[in-house]
């Protein structure tokens, strides 16, 4: 399990890969893509998506 008592900030985490140059930009892009790809992306204009978070898919569905 990964632990931090400090909130590292998502944008700041991705940015530090970007600072690492071309290779880092690739890592940042891949990580962000996989983040977006994992969750149910809210569909613009879809009222039902409002208030849902992309992390919810890992939770068991309610009976």
């Amino acid at each position: 399990m990964i632990f931090a008592y400090l909130d590292p900030g998502t944008g700041s985490l991705i940015l530090q890969a970007v600072v690492g140059g071309l290779a880092g930009i690739g890592v940042a892009w891949k990580a962000w893509r996989s983040k977006l790809g994992r969750g149910a992306k809210p569909v613009p204009g879809d009222d039902h998506s409002e208030g849902e978070t992309v992390e919810d898919t890992s939770l068991p569905a309610e009976p």
Partner: protein, 455 residues
């Protein structure tokens, strides 16, 4: 008596207790794991022997409720980043980055990046939070990057690029400046600077757009490595190295050139030396320390001198010229000294609580409080008496050339009473016994050695 350090609670893996002459760090299982990883490295030993890292010895028995305990030497004086000068914060930032680079090379990382983990010992920065080190897990990003920018980099940029002192901001917001705030403060000529684009503007944008989504796991899976942290650390180091604060001889930096200063300096030095001999204080608080001449004298006589002044420029010069001296430096306005603040109002102690002097030097001070800050003379005397220790004080009469300059546009009836020498002596009587005194050649100034009366 052992008591918990009120500023040590954020990291659940490690807590500090303070004893008279030592600090004890209690570790939980996780903290112990970090300590085992750190203490096994050559990096740890060399950083300690170079004075860059505080010494730590594992105690034979862990107190109940902890997995292990470390003993550290107790630091003689704690100061906070909002009391440091530009060069002090810059040196602390470089130490933070160098230690992270050294740690990564030894298979470790530092889990946070706050200047509160650094203290100045004999004029040099020392990292004091052993609990911040832990084994580096492959694929992990640098968790402290954002904190580094908020509490080290942006305050330095504020001074070096914007020309604004960082101390009021750091004192007002203990977390430092956000990237968004820094982006708004960037001067036009720096907006396209590559470092500003990356660490300030791009960070601000990404923070805004990517909030509320965790990516630590994804970064590891995408191939993040310690090399990327090292690249970032090296770039940040050269950026910090390049930052300069050009301060001219404005304000009190030119104070020593004033005629009355050179005229009376030798006599004031002898008066202090005599008091040092008589009282043998271990800690001297030099209020209105200016260029630190008398702080150096006190330190040379065997005391730890705490040099306090509101002028960052003179103290910055003092810092750069006093490596190796038993001298602590504090930038604060004595009419508004650092308060107790932070969580519960106690996380960061007030300057006056941390000071605990055995002797106070109040040379060239009271006229600034009385005439510039409009503090009534009776309040100044009561405030000095509150420290409960001897004071050597320079009385400055209303006829003094400096007072004439300070009063400026104020009319006599706009000033507080009790400014004349006989009136001031009467104010001293209830609080202090005058053990010796000496009129200075200027004719408008008198030195008093004051002994507090028993309460």
């Amino acid at each position: 008596m052992i008591s918990p350090d009120p500023g040590s609670f954020r990291d659940p893996a490690s807590h500090v207790l303070l004893d008279e002459d030592k600090a004890i760090r209690l570790l939980d299982e996780r903290g112990l794991e970090g300590w085992r990883a750190l203490s096994a490295t050559g990096f740890f030993r060399s950083a300690v022997s170079e004075g860059r890292l505080i010494d730590a010895v594992e105690m034979a028995e862990a107190p109940p409720g902890s997995a292990a305990a470390l003993e550290h030497p107790r630091l003689p004086f704690i100061s906070y980043p909002y009391e440091w000068t530009f060069s002090m914060l810059k040196d602390a930032a470089i130490l933070q980055l160098d230690l992270l680079e050294g740690a990564l090379s030894a298979g470790l990382t530092i889990k946070d990046a706050t200047p509160y983990n650094i203290q100045f010992v004999d004029g040099r920065p020392q990292f004091i939070d052993i609990g911040s080190f832990e084994a580096y897990r492959p694929g992990e990003p640098w968790i402290g990057y954002r904190q580094f920018t908020r509490q080290f980099l942006f305050p330095l940029l504020l001074r070096a690029w914007v020309g604004v002192p960082f101390q009021p901001w750091l004192r007002g917001d203990l977390e430092g400046l956000t990237s968004r705030q820094m982006a708004r403060l960037l001067p036009l000529r720096k907006r396209l600077n590559p470092s500003a684009l990356l660490h300030v503007r791009l960070q601000a944008r990404m923070e805004e757009r990517m909030a509320d989504r965790a990516v630590r796991q994804e970064l590891g899976a995408a191939g993040f490595s310690a090399d990327l942290i090292l690249t970032n650390v090296r770039k940040l180091r050269s950026l910090v190295e390049s930052l300069e604060w050009e301060h001219g001889s404005d304000g009190w930096s030119s104070y020593v050139e004033c005629s009355h200063v050179t005229r009376d300096r030798a006599a004031k030095g002898e008066f202090l030396t005599e008091a040092m001999r008589r009282l043998a204080p271990s800690r001297v608080l030099d209020l209105g320390a200016n260029d630190g001449h008398f702080s150096h004298l006190a330190a040379g006589a065997g005391a730890l001198a705490v040099a306090v002044d509101g002028d960052e420029a003179v103290l910055d010069d003092l810092y750069r010229n006093s490596t190796g001296s038993a001298l602590a430096i504090v930038v604060t306005d004595l009419a508004n000294p650092s308060p107790a603040q932070g969580w519960g109002g106690v996380e960061r102690a007030s300057l006056l609580d941390r000071a605990r002097p055995d002797l106070i030097i109040a040379y060239g001070l009271i006229h600034h409080l009385i005439y510039a800050a409009s503090i009534p003379p009776s309040h100044v005397v009561r405030w000095l008496a509150g420290f409960g220790c001897p004071v050597i004080l320079e009385f400055v009469s209303p006829a003094d050339e400096m007072v004439t300059r300070l009063v400026g546009n104020k009319l006599p009836h706009e000033l507080h009473g009790d400014r004349e020498e006989d009136e001031f002596r009467a104010l001293l009587v209830p609080w202090f016994e005058i053990t010796s005194e000496q009129a200075l050649t200027s004719g408008t100034r008198v030195l008093f050695a004051l002994k507090p009366r028993p309460a």
